[in-house]
Amino acid sequence: MKLEGKKRIWKEFQKEIPDDHFFFVRSCIRQSFFPGSEQFLIKLLREELGKDIYEDPRHTTCTGIGYHSDVVPFETIQTVVARHFALATERGYKDILISCVTSFGIYEEIVETWKHFPETLEKTREYLYKATKREFEVPRTILHTSDAVYKFKDEIAARMKYPLVDHKTGEPLKAVEHIGCHYSKMFPKYGVGGAEFPHTLVGMIESWGGKVIDYPERRHCCGFGFRQYLIQADRGYSMSNSKKKFESMEPYKPEFVLANCPGCTMFMDKWQYTLKEQEGKTYGVNGQGIPVLTYEELAGLVMGYDPWELGVQYHMVQSEPLMDKMGIPYDKDKKYIAKDGSKLIAPKNLINA
């Protein structure tokens, strides 16, 4: 494989990422399933890097789940998103930082629609004003949180305590990176690195000492997509897509999977549990599963934050084998203990536990 070819493509698809003053909107799934991640992102940007990141308590879900399930019409979601723009305008923010990849895709889709069909923008202004008396400006940049972490990957590397290497041998860890479909497949120019060879997560892993694996099904969708799995009988279809990816990456023996979409992270983690229960198969070495992490969790781990604060204990596939390899210390007894000392519910049937 020739790296120069990939580097040339990455140079072509560069994205303007501002480095301060973000208007942050949260993700429904990440808040529920990976709360440590969003919390850490804010801590990283605010406390570690001293950036201005503002969260408006009045912001809502973008209604992406409803939109992609045909329950919320396009006009409604345009108005909901416009309201977020109005909140940002009110506070003087021009750059929106979005936590969820589906949201990111929706915001981009809406802004592109407004560019090509200005009458829809006018209509949306009308609807928003009628509903809330608010007015808005279209933001200057629309960013995903993985773009922000990508932008600051070198600052994170400078604060690194545990690089992505086997701490005994110094060998870089092998990682699979998975980009959410709506991050760069819809509008390749809005994703760092474009659609075929996206660079956002590759940049992070390589800056932090790891090695990225290019496997045949790298580009394949994980099967998430609300429409595909809302009805139980359809979930086999969803799961089979993740299974295809696991079968393809298995021979390369990756130590972990890094994903930037909340849905992908959730699916690639949880389907490993389902496949183990239903088919008795795991895809890591020695009958283990492959830990699936968010980029905040990975950043936190390399920077030496307490893994239980980051929330890795609430994945189905536990990260202990990875942390052992990296030399990260953790207290087994404190795993399911809350901040005030009370006991939390410990999940059952975990893999690698």
């Binding site: 139980q232 009988a233 359809d234 979930r235 086999g236 279809y237 799961m239 089979s240 299974k243 295809k244 389902t274 496949l275 229960e277 239903q278 088919e279 008795g280």
Partner: protein, 114 residues
């Protein structure tokens, strides 16, 4: 082990490297004109069986070449052996013989290796 109300689906991709092409090789050996097919579909257009069933000689020929044997088994018995296909073929493939040989190949395959 269906615990959750759904199960994983077998991929429908033609996995060329995994498929067994013994049937194709048998036909190629015994009817070399089989190599001339361009998939134009003239045969399928005139086919008597295709008017009322999902028989498609065009598709059958392609599936044989790819080694998709399950589908081939299903389709090959629908042929009425009327011979209209052989009259149409612009490349001169002996289509009727292809059907005979396919059926022969599967009989051999089921009893012993081709």
């Amino acid at each position: 082990m269906k615990k959750f109300g759904f199960s994983s689906i077998k991929p429908r991709v033609i996995d060329y490297d995994r498929n067994n092409r013994a049937v194709m090789e048998y036909i190629m050996e015994n009817e070399p004109s089989f190599a001339l097919c361009i998939g134009c579909g003239g045969c399928a257009a005139t086919c008597s069986a295709a008017q009322f069933t999902d028989m498609s000689l065009r598709k059958l020929n392609i599936l044989i070449k790819r080694g998709e044997n399950d589908e081939v088994r299903r389709l090959m018995n629908k042929c009425m052996l009327c011979g209209k296909c052989t009259l149409v073929c612009p490349r001169g493939v002996n289509t009727r013989n292809v059907i005979f040989l396919t059926q022969q190949a599967f009989r051999k395959l089921d009893n012993y290796a081709v």
